[in-house]
Every structure is written in structure tokens, then in C-alpha cells.
């Protein structure tokens, strides 16, 4: 296989054919998550924070020198939530989705400007990036929204890659900073005990139940780490996606019950990105939205013009 062929294959894998139906399903699903986060979040709580306590990061640091007043944050939240729900209803989604996304980006970023980034909204924001600049739906696209084409396949697949990378990276960071002791030591037992003592969890019974049984704590730790490290399997084994969606749900529901951590947005994003609009997760392997054979068949007429010129 020549170098050009290899590049061609990699490009086809990263930017596969997919259907407009799946594109719409994933974008709408992500819009639902953004709408719910904006509708239910307590972002205005940080309004009016004094400057010495304001520590913005990333893009928020570029936009703000000081925390806006609470009234401004409330207004932004109301408007952003409205835009998000319009995006859910597919009203001018190429306009409403990016505006709602930008609102959540700013509000969540401001909420995380107290000295530590809050990760609750990281997954929905980063996984939504491929959809912020969406291609325009042309009449030919609407005639058959179930026809695979690379115009619509790349964004849901990019979101899938992002989700898989995020989870895998989270697991790698545990190994990097703690080593296997993260599983084999008493780490999980201490996390449970300290979580129970924090007063944030809805119940202390589950955390203490795990903490009192060393074998169970090791099993929990190993399961969570294994889930995170092997998440990229969803990129090549479509049948695994429902199990990883369930696994992610179990992980985040578990951390809510034991530690009081609010990651329901992550549960929804995983389910949406892994399975929305793609009924073929029951069979086959290969890029999202199509089997590898179909991707080759649909993609043959869609080869990158650059690489086609190189091979001519």
C-alpha cells in the first residue's frame, strides 16, 4: 500500500460517509443537553464576584476582565436557553445552535472562574464543536436524508472521536499521576469515605458500603479505569457502543450517589454521540453511520480531491 493510499484510508476513517439523519439526530441531541444545562444550571450564582476572586481561564480570560453582574448572567442564561430550545426544534439550527453553545461556553466558563475549572460541561462543549459550524442543508440533501455522504458523516464521527479521547485521557491521567496504585491501593476507599463526609452526596450508605469492603473498592476502581482506558473501542466496534453508554451511565450515576458529583450531562452526551440516529450499532464494524464496505462504496466517489490529484 502506497503512502498516498494510507493517507487516503486515514482520511476516510476520520471523515467517513454518514447520513444527514444521524447528523441531525446528534446535533439535536446535543442541543437538548445544552438546553437542559442552560435551563437548570446555577450559572448566575457567581455574578458580581469581586475581582480578586475572579480567575478566568482560556477563552473566558480573553473576553472578561471582571465578573459580569448577576443580572447580566441571568439575562444571558434565559436567552441562551431559549436559543437552545429553538435549536432542539430545528428552528434555524445553523444560527441557534452555535449561539446557544457560545452562551453555555461563557456561562460555564464564568462559573469555573473561581480558581478551578468545573468539568461538568466540558464534554458537551467540546463534543459539540464539530456542529458549531454546520454545513448548509441543500435541497439534494433533504431528498434522501438517509443517503451516506462525507458531507454529513464527519461531524458525528468527530464527536465520537472526541468523546472516546476524553474518556481515555481521563483514565491515562490517573495512571500517569498515580500508577496502578490508583486501583490496588486504598484510594477508592478513601474517596468514598471523604465523599460521604462532604455532605454533598444524596446518601452516604452506598459510599460507606463500598469503603467498608476493600475487595469491592478494588473492583469499582478497576472497572472505572478499564472503562475509561478502553473507550476508544467504540471507534472500531459499533456493537460495543451501547455497553459503553451504559458503562458511562453507571460511572456517573455512581459518582453522583457516592460523591454528589453532577455529571448527568456527560451521561446524555455519551448516549447521544454513540447511538443517536445510528440504528446500525447492532451490526458491523467501522466508522459511524456506515459499515466499512458501505463507506468504501459511498466514499469512492467522495475521495479527497487533493489525494486524487496526487495519485493521477
Amino acid at each position: 500500500m502506497s503512502v498516498v493510499d494510507r493517507i487516503d484510508r486515514i482520511d476516510l476513517w476520520f471523515f467517513p460517509a454518514g447520513t444527514l439523519r444521524r447528523y441531525r439526530a446528534v446535533r439535536t441531541g446535543l442541543a437538548v443537553v445544552i438546553a437542559l444545562r442552560l435551563s437548570l444550571g446555577s450559572y448566575p450564582r457567581v455574578g458580581g464576584l469581586p475581582d480578586p476572586l475572579f480567575h478566568p481561564r482560556g477563552i473566558v480570560a480573553l473576553l472578561f476582565d471582571s465578573m459580569p453582574p448577576r443580572g447580566v448572567l441571568v439575562a444571558a442564561q434565559v436567552i441562551g436557553a431559549g436559543l437552545a430550545w429553538l435549536a432542539v426544534a430545528r428552528v434555524r439550527p445553523r444560527l441557534t445552535f452555535p449561539l446557544a453553545w457560545a452562551t453555555l461556553l461563557v456561562l460555564a466558563g464564568l462559573k469555573g472562574s473561581l480558581g478551578k475549572i468545573l468539568h461538568n460541561d466540558v464534554l458537551v462543549l467540546v463534543a459539540s464543536l464539530p456542529f458549531v459550524l454546520g454545513p448548509r442543508e441543500r435541497p439534494a440533501d433533504r431528498v434522501d436524508p438517509g443517503r451516506p455522504t462525507r458531507r454529513w458523516g464527519w461531524a458525528p464521527h468527530a464527536a465520537l472521536v472526541i468523546v472516546a479521547l476524553l474518556y481515555c485521557a481521563t483514565g491515562l491521567q490517573k495512571l500517569r499521576h498515580s500508577g496502578i496504585e490508583w486501583v490496588t491501593g486504598d484510594n477508592t476507599r478513601w474517596v468514598m469515605v471523604q465523599g460521604a463526609a462532604s455532605g454533598r452526596a444524596p446518601t452516604t450508605g452506598i459510599a460507606l458500603f463500598v469503603a467498608e469492603r476493600a475487595w469491592l473498592a478494588h473492583v469499582v476502581a478497576a472497572s472505572f479505569l478499564l472503562l475509561e482506558l478502553t473507550f476508544p473501542i467504540v471507534l472500531v466496534v459499533r456493537r460495543a457502543r451501547p455497553f459503553y453508554a451504559l458503562g458511562a451511565a453507571a460511572l456517573h450515576v455512581g459518582t453522583w450517589l457516592t460523591l454528589g458529583l453532577d455529571y448527568w450531562g456527560w451521561v446524555l452526551v455519551v448516549a447521544i454521540v454513540l447511538m443517536a440516529g445510528d440504528g446500525r450499532w447492532r451490526s458491523g464494524r467501522g466508522p459511524v453511520g456506515t459499515s466499512r464496505r458501505t463507506a468504501r462504496g459511498a466514499g469512492h466517489g467522495d475521495r479527497p480531491a487533493i489525494l486524487g490529484a496526487l495519485r493521477a
Binding site: 457567581v46 458580581g48 480578586p52 473561581l114 455522504t149 490517573k174 498515580s178 466517489g301
Partner: protein, 160 residues
């Protein structure tokens, strides 16, 4: 295109140019993946990208915390009334952790902000003392016992 090229038999709407991702898709995806990897590899927190260090440190029975003491004009000491300040200022953990890397004037500014917020609720505070506390539990499940408390900073304009 040749007569045997499948693309030659496709309808015009599915010609290669129509089926391509937008021209900006490849640079966009490359930039996202690169930023993700860069932040994780180098521990960068650049919202919305993150180093993703979620519970990445091993926990032990030793827990460290903070205690903030409010000193009145008459020298009396009591716990700082965090419950009376605005909600955005009631969780001082991150602000206190950040004080390690701040200069004395910056720490004074933080403390003055808390003092001013408390003053609006009727508390008369001259300055603050910030203590670093350490507690240890022998085994998971046993209550932690305080083992050390060290005065780290005296801050606020009233302390000078």
C-alpha cells in the same frame, strides 16, 4: 473520469465535490484533537479544554484543609462567617489554594474582598488569619483526627 469509474455513473448531486466534508472540517478536527492532546500532555487548563485530571491523585487518610479566622478591631477571634457572604464567595477552597502562588498584596486583596462582603452583613472584621489544617484517619471508616494546624497567612489591609 473514465467510463468505468463509479463516480461517472453517479447522479450529479452525488458527484465528488458534493460529497466532500466542508473545507474547514479537516483543520477544525485536527485543531480540536491537537488541543485535547496538548492540554492533557502538558497539564494545561484552557477552557473549554482541560488537562482532565479528574480524581487522578491517590487519596490517603491524610486530608488537608483550611481554617479562616476573623479578627475583630478589639483583637477577638472567631470563625469567618462564610454563610453570610454571597453564595459565589462561600466556597473558599479554591481561592485559598490559589494563595500559594499569590503575592502578599494579592492575598490582601482576596481577604479584603471577603471582609467587605461580611461587613455588608454587619460583621466588623479587621483582618483574617488563614490556617492550614491537617487531619488523619487511621483506616477508611474511622473519623479523621486533627493532627496539625499552621498559620499560613495574616491578610487584609487591617493587618498592616
Amino acid at each position: 473520469m473514465t467510463a468505468t469509474d463509479p463516480a461517472a455513473t453517479l447522479p450529479e448531486a452525488t458527484a465528488p465535490a458534493e460529497g466532500q466534508p466542508p473545507w474547514w472540517a479537516r483543520p477544525l478536527v485536527a485543531a480540536i484533537v491537537a488541543l485535547l492532546v496538548w492540554c492533557v500532555a502538558f497539564g494545561i487548563e484552557a477552557w473549554p479544554f482541560s488537562a482532565l485530571r479528574l480524581f487522578s491523585e491517590v487519596r490517603t487518610g491524610t486530608t488537608r484543609g483550611w481554617r479562616v479566622e476573623a479578627i475583630g478591631p478589639d483583637g477577638s477571634a472567631r470563625a469567618f462567617p462564610f454563610a453570610d457572604v454571597p453564595r459565589s464567595m462561600r466556597s473558599p477552597l479554591w481561592a485559598l489554594n490559589g494563595m500559594f502562588s499569590q503575592s502578599p498584596p494579592e492575598r490582601d486583596a482576596v481577604c479584603d474582598a471577603w471582609i467587605a462582603a461580611a461587613a455588608r452583613e454587619g460583621h466588623d472584621i479587621a483582618y483574617l488569619r488563614v490556617y492550614r489544617t491537617t487531619a488523619e484517619a487511621a483506616t477508611p471508616g474511622t473519623p479523621p483526627k486533627p493532627v496539625a494546624q499552621a498559620l499560613r497567612w495574616t491578610c487584609g489591609s487591617g493587618a498592616r
